[in-house]
Protein backbone atom coordinates (compact mmCIF):
# COMPACT_ATOMS: atom_id res chain seq x y z
CA UNK A 1 0.00 0.00 0.00
CA UNK A 2 1.11 3.53 -0.69
CA UNK A 3 0.58 5.90 2.21
CA UNK A 4 0.58 9.63 1.49
CA UNK A 5 0.41 12.07 4.35
CA UNK A 6 -1.79 14.99 3.27
CA UNK A 7 -2.10 16.79 6.59
CA UNK A 8 -0.18 16.34 9.85
CA UNK A 9 -1.03 19.55 11.71
CA UNK A 10 -3.31 19.51 14.74
CA UNK A 11 -6.23 21.70 15.80
CA UNK A 12 -6.32 24.35 13.06
CA UNK A 13 -4.66 24.79 9.66
CA UNK A 14 -1.70 27.09 9.62
CA UNK A 15 0.40 28.59 6.85
CA UNK A 16 3.44 30.74 6.17
CA UNK A 17 7.13 30.34 5.48
CA UNK A 18 7.75 29.12 9.03
CA UNK A 19 5.76 25.89 8.51
CA UNK A 20 6.83 25.16 4.95
CA UNK A 21 8.62 21.89 5.77
CA UNK A 22 6.14 20.10 8.07
CA UNK A 23 3.10 21.71 6.46
CA UNK A 24 0.00 23.37 7.84
CA UNK A 25 -2.93 21.19 6.78
CA UNK A 26 -4.88 19.25 9.38
CA UNK A 27 -5.26 15.47 9.61
CA UNK A 28 -5.61 13.51 6.41
CA UNK A 29 -3.86 10.39 5.11
CA UNK A 30 -4.38 8.82 1.70
CA UNK A 31 -3.85 5.07 1.27
CA UNK A 32 -3.87 3.41 -2.14
CA UNK A 33 -3.52 -0.23 -3.19
CA UNK A 34 -4.79 -2.38 -6.04
CA UNK A 35 -7.07 0.35 -7.35
CA UNK A 36 -8.68 1.00 -3.96
CA UNK A 37 -8.40 4.19 -1.98
CA UNK A 38 -8.85 4.87 1.72
CA UNK A 39 -8.77 8.38 3.13
CA UNK A 40 -8.15 8.59 6.86
CA UNK A 41 -9.78 11.71 8.32
CA UNK A 42 -11.12 14.70 6.43
CA UNK A 43 -9.01 17.57 7.70
CA UNK A 44 -7.91 20.39 5.41
CA UNK A 45 -5.25 18.05 3.95
CA UNK A 46 -8.04 16.31 2.03
CA UNK A 47 -7.69 19.01 -0.64
CA UNK A 48 -4.37 17.42 -1.66
CA UNK A 49 -5.74 13.88 -2.16
CA UNK A 50 -5.38 12.49 -5.69
CA UNK A 51 -8.96 11.34 -6.21
CA UNK A 52 -9.11 9.55 -9.51
CA UNK A 53 -5.57 8.36 -9.96
CA UNK A 54 -5.27 4.54 -10.06
CA UNK A 55 -8.92 3.95 -9.07
CA UNK A 56 -10.33 0.92 -10.84
CA UNK A 57 -13.92 1.59 -9.74
CA UNK A 58 -16.02 4.50 -8.50
CA UNK A 59 -15.78 3.85 -4.79
CA UNK A 60 -13.80 5.81 -2.18
CA UNK A 61 -13.86 5.16 1.57
CA UNK A 62 -13.26 7.91 4.12
CA UNK A 63 -12.51 6.67 7.64
CA UNK A 64 -12.97 9.26 10.39
CA UNK A 65 -11.28 8.77 13.74
CA UNK A 66 -13.64 11.31 15.28
CA UNK A 67 -15.64 14.37 14.40
CA UNK A 68 -13.60 17.23 15.83
CA UNK A 69 -13.38 20.09 13.36
CA UNK A 70 -9.75 19.55 12.37
CA UNK A 71 -10.70 16.04 11.19
CA UNK A 72 -13.79 16.93 9.16
CA UNK A 73 -13.31 20.50 7.97
CA UNK A 74 -12.12 19.34 4.54
CA UNK A 75 -15.12 17.10 3.86
CA UNK A 76 -17.14 19.88 2.27
CA UNK A 77 -14.34 20.40 -0.25
CA UNK A 78 -13.96 16.75 -1.15
CA UNK A 79 -14.65 16.77 -4.90
CA UNK A 80 -16.02 13.22 -5.30
CA UNK A 81 -18.99 14.12 -3.05
CA UNK A 82 -20.23 16.30 -5.90
CA UNK A 83 -19.85 13.63 -8.58
CA UNK A 84 -23.05 11.59 -9.14
CA UNK A 85 -20.98 8.72 -10.53
CA UNK A 86 -19.11 8.24 -7.26
CA UNK A 87 -19.97 5.84 -4.45
CA UNK A 88 -18.68 7.43 -1.25
CA UNK A 89 -18.48 5.59 2.06
CA UNK A 90 -17.89 7.44 5.32
CA UNK A 91 -16.98 5.38 8.38
CA UNK A 92 -17.08 7.15 11.73
CA UNK A 93 -17.31 6.35 15.45
CA UNK A 94 -20.74 5.56 16.86
CA UNK A 95 -22.11 7.84 19.56
CA UNK A 96 -24.64 6.93 22.22
CA UNK A 97 -26.85 9.92 21.46
CA UNK A 98 -26.75 10.94 17.79
CA UNK A 99 -26.31 9.10 14.51
CA UNK A 100 -23.26 9.74 12.34
CA UNK A 101 -25.56 11.44 9.83
CA UNK A 102 -26.91 13.82 12.47
CA UNK A 103 -23.46 14.71 13.71
CA UNK A 104 -21.98 15.27 10.24
CA UNK A 105 -25.01 17.36 9.32
CA UNK A 106 -24.08 19.83 12.05
CA UNK A 107 -21.21 20.88 9.81
CA UNK A 108 -22.50 19.94 6.35
CA UNK A 109 -25.53 22.24 6.45
CA UNK A 110 -26.16 26.01 6.59
CA UNK A 111 -25.02 28.24 8.15
CA UNK A 112 -21.65 26.49 8.45
CA UNK A 113 -21.72 25.05 4.93
CA UNK A 114 -23.99 25.96 1.98
CA UNK A 115 -24.83 22.39 0.94
CA UNK A 116 -26.89 19.96 3.01
CA UNK A 117 -25.42 16.49 3.33
CA UNK A 118 -28.64 15.10 1.87
CA UNK A 119 -28.11 17.17 -1.28
CA UNK A 120 -24.69 15.77 -2.10
CA UNK A 121 -25.03 14.23 -5.56
CA UNK A 122 -22.79 11.21 -4.94
CA UNK A 123 -24.12 7.88 -3.66
CA UNK A 124 -23.35 8.33 0.01
CA UNK A 125 -23.16 5.48 2.53
CA UNK A 126 -22.54 6.10 6.22
CA UNK A 127 -21.19 3.40 8.54
CA UNK A 128 -21.11 3.68 12.33
CA UNK A 129 -18.19 1.84 13.86
CA UNK A 130 -16.96 0.97 17.33
CA UNK A 131 -14.84 -2.05 18.23
CA UNK A 132 -15.10 -3.68 14.87
CA UNK A 133 -13.40 -5.75 12.17
CA UNK A 134 -14.29 -4.93 8.59
CA UNK A 135 -12.85 -5.23 5.11
CA UNK A 136 -12.61 -2.70 2.30
CA UNK A 137 -11.18 -4.18 -0.88
CA UNK A 138 -7.74 -5.59 -0.08
CA UNK A 139 -7.62 -3.91 3.36
CA UNK A 140 -8.53 -5.65 6.62
CA UNK A 141 -9.35 -3.01 9.20
CA UNK A 142 -9.76 -3.17 12.95
CA UNK A 143 -11.18 -0.17 14.79
CA UNK A 144 -11.53 0.44 18.50
CA UNK A 145 -12.27 3.34 20.81
CA UNK A 146 -9.23 5.13 22.21
CA UNK A 147 -8.82 7.85 24.82
CA UNK A 148 -9.68 11.29 23.40
CA UNK A 149 -12.63 13.56 24.30
CA UNK A 150 -15.82 12.39 22.56
CA UNK A 151 -16.24 9.14 20.62
CA UNK A 152 -12.87 8.51 18.96
CA UNK A 153 -11.45 5.41 17.31
CA UNK A 154 -8.03 4.35 16.09
CA UNK A 155 -7.50 2.19 13.02
CA UNK A 156 -5.27 -0.83 12.48
CA UNK A 157 -5.03 -1.53 8.76
CA UNK A 158 -3.65 -4.78 7.38
CA UNK A 159 -2.56 -5.02 3.77
CA UNK A 160 -0.85 -8.26 2.75
CA UNK A 161 1.75 -8.76 5.50
CA UNK A 162 2.02 -5.09 6.46
CA UNK A 163 0.27 -3.35 9.36
CA UNK A 164 -0.30 0.38 9.61
CA UNK A 165 -1.87 1.91 12.72
CA UNK A 166 -3.39 5.37 12.76
CA UNK A 167 -4.04 7.25 16.01
CA UNK A 168 -3.57 10.97 15.33
CA UNK A 169 -5.48 12.07 18.46
CA UNK A 170 -4.80 9.91 21.48
CA UNK A 171 -3.93 10.44 25.13
CA UNK A 172 -2.90 7.08 26.62
CA UNK A 173 -1.15 8.81 29.54
CA UNK A 174 -4.35 10.33 30.94
CA UNK A 175 -4.39 9.78 34.70
CA UNK A 176 -2.22 10.39 37.71
CA UNK A 177 0.25 7.62 36.88
CA UNK A 178 0.79 8.29 33.18
CA UNK A 179 1.04 5.27 30.87
CA UNK A 180 0.83 2.20 33.09
CA UNK A 181 3.44 -0.58 32.76
CA UNK A 182 0.85 -3.33 32.46
CA UNK A 183 -0.20 -3.10 28.81
CA UNK A 184 -3.69 -4.44 29.58
CA UNK A 185 -4.34 -1.01 31.07
CA UNK A 186 -3.10 1.03 28.09
CA UNK A 187 -5.60 2.51 25.64
CA UNK A 188 -4.97 1.60 22.01
CA UNK A 189 -2.18 -0.89 22.64
CA UNK A 190 -3.92 -3.77 20.80
CA UNK A 191 -4.36 -1.56 17.74
CA UNK A 192 -0.69 -0.64 17.63
CA UNK A 193 0.92 -3.94 18.67
CA UNK A 194 3.73 -4.96 16.30
CA UNK A 195 2.79 -2.43 13.62
CA UNK A 196 5.21 -1.76 10.78
CA UNK A 197 4.19 1.88 11.00
CA UNK A 198 2.39 3.82 13.71
CA UNK A 199 1.15 7.37 13.18
CA UNK A 200 0.60 8.75 16.66
CA UNK A 201 -0.28 12.02 18.33
CA UNK A 202 2.75 13.89 19.72
CA UNK A 203 1.57 17.46 20.09
CA UNK A 204 3.24 18.46 23.32
CA UNK A 205 6.62 18.55 24.98
CA UNK A 206 6.88 16.61 28.24
CA UNK A 207 6.94 19.93 30.09
CA UNK A 208 3.76 21.17 28.39
CA UNK A 209 1.74 17.99 28.95
CA UNK A 210 0.82 18.41 32.66
CA UNK A 211 -0.85 21.76 31.91
CA UNK A 212 -2.79 20.20 29.02
CA UNK A 213 -3.74 16.88 30.55
CA UNK A 214 -7.23 15.82 29.50
CA UNK A 215 -7.16 17.73 26.23
CA UNK A 216 -6.78 14.40 24.43
CA UNK A 217 -3.23 14.63 23.13
CA UNK A 218 0.20 13.21 23.90
CA UNK A 219 3.70 14.44 24.45
CA UNK A 220 6.48 13.23 22.14
CA UNK A 221 7.91 11.30 25.09
CA UNK A 222 4.61 9.49 25.69
CA UNK A 223 4.24 8.72 21.98
CA UNK A 224 7.70 7.10 22.04
CA UNK A 225 6.93 5.19 25.24
CA UNK A 226 3.61 3.97 23.80
CA UNK A 227 5.29 2.88 20.54
CA UNK A 228 7.97 1.10 22.53
CA UNK A 229 5.40 -0.79 24.62
CA UNK A 230 3.54 -1.74 21.43
CA UNK A 231 6.81 -2.93 19.82
CA UNK A 232 6.21 -0.99 16.62
CA UNK A 233 8.88 -0.84 13.93
CA UNK A 234 8.52 2.80 12.94
CA UNK A 235 6.81 5.74 14.63
CA UNK A 236 5.72 8.89 12.85
CA UNK A 237 4.65 11.68 15.16
CA UNK A 238 1.71 13.85 14.07
CA UNK A 239 -0.81 16.43 15.24
CA UNK A 240 1.86 19.11 15.38
CA UNK A 241 0.80 22.12 17.41
CA UNK A 242 -0.37 24.94 15.11
CA UNK A 243 1.80 27.40 17.01
CA UNK A 244 4.96 25.43 16.32
CA UNK A 245 7.22 26.50 13.42
CA UNK A 246 9.52 24.08 11.58
CA UNK A 247 12.48 25.30 13.63
CA UNK A 248 10.59 24.85 16.90
CA UNK A 249 9.51 21.33 15.89
CA UNK A 250 13.06 20.39 14.93
CA UNK A 251 14.37 21.69 18.22
CA UNK A 252 11.66 19.83 20.15
CA UNK A 253 12.36 16.60 18.26
CA UNK A 254 16.16 16.81 18.62
CA UNK A 255 15.83 17.34 22.33
CA UNK A 256 13.67 14.21 22.66
CA UNK A 257 15.86 12.21 20.28
CA UNK A 258 19.00 12.92 22.30
CA UNK A 259 17.56 11.32 25.42
CA UNK A 260 15.59 8.46 23.86
CA UNK A 261 17.22 5.06 23.54
CA UNK A 262 14.77 2.87 21.64
CA UNK A 263 15.30 0.23 18.98
CA UNK A 264 12.83 1.56 16.43
CA UNK A 265 13.03 4.63 14.21
CA UNK A 266 10.91 7.66 14.98
CA UNK A 267 10.54 11.13 13.53
CA UNK A 268 7.99 13.90 13.10
CA UNK A 269 5.78 13.36 10.06
CA UNK A 270 5.65 16.01 7.37
CA UNK A 271 2.98 16.85 4.82
CA UNK A 272 3.73 15.23 1.47
CA UNK A 273 5.56 12.26 3.01
CA UNK A 274 5.08 8.97 1.16
CA UNK A 275 5.61 5.51 2.64
CA UNK A 276 5.33 2.16 0.89
CA UNK A 277 4.26 -0.87 2.96
CA UNK A 278 3.41 -4.46 2.11
Amino acid sequence: MRINLRGVRGSIPTSGPGVKYYGGNTSCVEISAEGWKLVLDGGSGISNVTWHEELNHNRIDILLTHLHMDHIQGLGFCKPFFDPAMEMHIWGPASTTQSLHERLSLYLSPPLFPVHIRDLPCKLHLHEIDKKNFEIGPFKIYSDYIIHPGPTVGFRIHYRSAVFTYMPDHEPALGVSGILEDTRWVSGIDLAKGSDLLLHDAQWTAAEYPQRMGWGHSSMDDAILFASMAAVKHLLMVHHDPGRTDDMLNEMFNEVKNRSAVSFSFEPAYEGMEILLG
Binding site: P93, A94, S95, T96, D130, K131, Y145, I146, I147, P151, L174, G175, V176, S177, T183, R184, W185, V186, S187, G188, I189, D190
Partner: protein, 131 residues
Protein backbone atom coordinates in the same frame (compact mmCIF):
# COMPACT_ATOMS: atom_id res chain seq x y z
CA UNK B 1 -3.49 -10.68 27.00
CA UNK B 2 -5.82 -8.20 25.38
CA UNK B 3 -6.11 -4.73 26.85
CA UNK B 4 -9.21 -3.71 28.79
CA UNK B 5 -11.82 -1.51 27.17
CA UNK B 6 -11.11 2.22 27.57
CA UNK B 7 -14.20 2.63 29.76
CA UNK B 8 -12.57 0.24 32.25
CA UNK B 9 -9.17 1.92 31.90
CA UNK B 10 -10.67 5.37 32.53
CA UNK B 11 -12.52 4.09 35.61
CA UNK B 12 -9.21 2.82 36.98
CA UNK B 13 -7.50 6.14 36.27
CA UNK B 14 -10.34 7.92 38.09
CA UNK B 15 -10.12 5.49 41.03
CA UNK B 16 -6.40 6.26 41.29
CA UNK B 17 -7.29 9.90 41.99
CA UNK B 18 -9.87 9.25 44.72
CA UNK B 19 -9.48 9.00 48.48
CA UNK B 20 -12.44 6.62 48.82
CA UNK B 21 -12.15 2.85 48.31
CA UNK B 22 -13.05 1.80 44.77
CA UNK B 23 -13.28 -1.74 43.40
CA UNK B 24 -13.53 -2.54 39.69
CA UNK B 25 -14.62 -5.88 38.30
CA UNK B 26 -14.85 -7.25 34.79
CA UNK B 27 -18.20 -8.46 33.46
CA UNK B 28 -17.69 -11.88 35.05
CA UNK B 29 -17.14 -10.36 38.47
CA UNK B 30 -13.41 -10.88 38.69
CA UNK B 31 -11.89 -8.08 40.76
CA UNK B 32 -9.48 -6.57 38.26
CA UNK B 33 -8.48 -3.44 40.15
CA UNK B 34 -8.80 -1.78 43.55
CA UNK B 35 -7.22 1.52 44.59
CA UNK B 36 -5.05 2.28 47.60
CA UNK B 37 -7.92 3.17 49.99
CA UNK B 38 -9.53 -0.13 48.99
CA UNK B 39 -6.31 -1.95 49.87
CA UNK B 40 -6.90 -0.85 53.47
CA UNK B 41 -10.40 -2.35 53.42
CA UNK B 42 -9.23 -5.60 51.87
CA UNK B 43 -6.03 -5.78 53.87
CA UNK B 44 -4.23 -6.77 50.71
CA UNK B 45 -2.24 -4.86 48.13
CA UNK B 46 -3.29 -4.91 44.49
CA UNK B 47 0.39 -5.19 43.62
CA UNK B 48 0.50 -8.49 45.54
CA UNK B 49 -2.84 -10.05 44.65
CA UNK B 50 -3.48 -8.93 41.11
CA UNK B 51 -6.89 -10.04 39.92
CA UNK B 52 -9.19 -11.87 42.31
CA UNK B 53 -12.14 -14.16 41.45
CA UNK B 54 -15.62 -13.16 42.68
CA UNK B 55 -16.01 -15.97 45.24
CA UNK B 56 -12.77 -14.90 46.89
CA UNK B 57 -13.43 -11.16 47.27
CA UNK B 58 -17.11 -11.60 48.20
CA UNK B 59 -16.25 -13.61 51.29
CA UNK B 60 -13.35 -11.52 52.58
CA UNK B 61 -15.53 -8.91 54.27
CA UNK B 62 -17.89 -11.26 56.21
CA UNK B 63 -20.86 -9.03 55.34
CA UNK B 64 -23.81 -9.16 57.73
CA UNK B 65 -27.08 -7.34 58.41
CA UNK B 66 -28.14 -5.35 61.51
CA UNK B 67 -29.02 -8.55 63.33
CA UNK B 68 -25.67 -10.12 62.59
CA UNK B 69 -26.98 -12.54 60.00
CA UNK B 70 -24.43 -13.30 57.29
CA UNK B 71 -25.48 -11.85 53.93
CA UNK B 72 -25.47 -14.07 50.90
CA UNK B 73 -23.20 -12.77 48.12
CA UNK B 74 -26.35 -12.31 45.98
CA UNK B 75 -27.53 -9.61 48.42
CA UNK B 76 -24.41 -7.46 47.99
CA UNK B 77 -24.79 -4.38 45.74
CA UNK B 78 -21.85 -5.24 43.50
CA UNK B 79 -23.04 -8.79 42.95
CA UNK B 80 -26.53 -7.49 42.11
CA UNK B 81 -25.05 -4.94 39.69
CA UNK B 82 -23.14 -7.73 37.97
CA UNK B 83 -26.32 -9.78 37.70
CA UNK B 84 -28.80 -7.08 36.65
CA UNK B 85 -26.53 -4.37 35.09
CA UNK B 86 -28.14 -1.77 37.33
CA UNK B 87 -26.87 0.52 40.13
CA UNK B 88 -27.46 -0.59 43.74
CA UNK B 89 -26.80 0.83 47.17
CA UNK B 90 -26.95 -0.77 50.59
CA UNK B 91 -25.61 -0.28 54.07
CA UNK B 92 -24.43 -3.33 55.98
CA UNK B 93 -21.83 -4.51 58.44
CA UNK B 94 -18.43 -5.88 57.61
CA UNK B 95 -15.74 -7.30 59.82
CA UNK B 96 -12.49 -5.42 59.56
CA UNK B 97 -9.15 -7.18 59.61
CA UNK B 98 -8.67 -6.64 63.34
CA UNK B 99 -12.01 -8.30 63.97
CA UNK B 100 -13.91 -5.08 64.66
CA UNK B 101 -17.36 -4.75 63.11
CA UNK B 102 -17.90 -1.64 61.02
CA UNK B 103 -21.00 -0.29 59.30
CA UNK B 104 -20.42 0.70 55.70
CA UNK B 105 -22.44 1.77 52.69
CA UNK B 106 -21.68 0.46 49.24
CA UNK B 107 -22.72 2.07 45.97
CA UNK B 108 -22.23 0.05 42.83
CA UNK B 109 -22.84 0.85 39.18
CA UNK B 110 -22.44 -0.98 35.91
CA UNK B 111 -19.95 0.17 33.28
CA UNK B 112 -22.01 0.37 30.12
CA UNK B 113 -19.81 1.43 27.22
CA UNK B 114 -20.65 3.67 24.28
CA UNK B 115 -22.15 0.74 22.43
CA UNK B 116 -24.27 0.04 25.57
CA UNK B 117 -22.25 -3.10 26.07
CA UNK B 118 -21.87 -4.23 29.67
CA UNK B 119 -18.15 -4.21 30.40
CA UNK B 120 -17.91 -4.55 34.17
CA UNK B 121 -18.88 -2.90 37.44
CA UNK B 122 -17.58 -0.48 40.04
CA UNK B 123 -18.22 -0.49 43.79
CA UNK B 124 -17.49 2.46 46.05
CA UNK B 125 -17.32 1.94 49.82
CA UNK B 126 -18.47 4.73 52.13
CA UNK B 127 -18.20 4.98 55.87
CA UNK B 128 -21.87 4.66 56.80
CA UNK B 129 -23.63 7.69 58.26
CA UNK B 130 -26.77 5.64 58.98
CA UNK B 131 -27.81 5.48 62.59
Amino acid sequence: MAAYEIEIILNRQLADCLSIPVFITDRKGNLIYYNEPAEEVLGRRYEDTGEMPADEWASIFHPSDEAGNILNPEELPLVKTLKYCYPYHRSFWIQSLNGKKEKISVTSYPILGRSSKFLGAVAIFWQSKDE
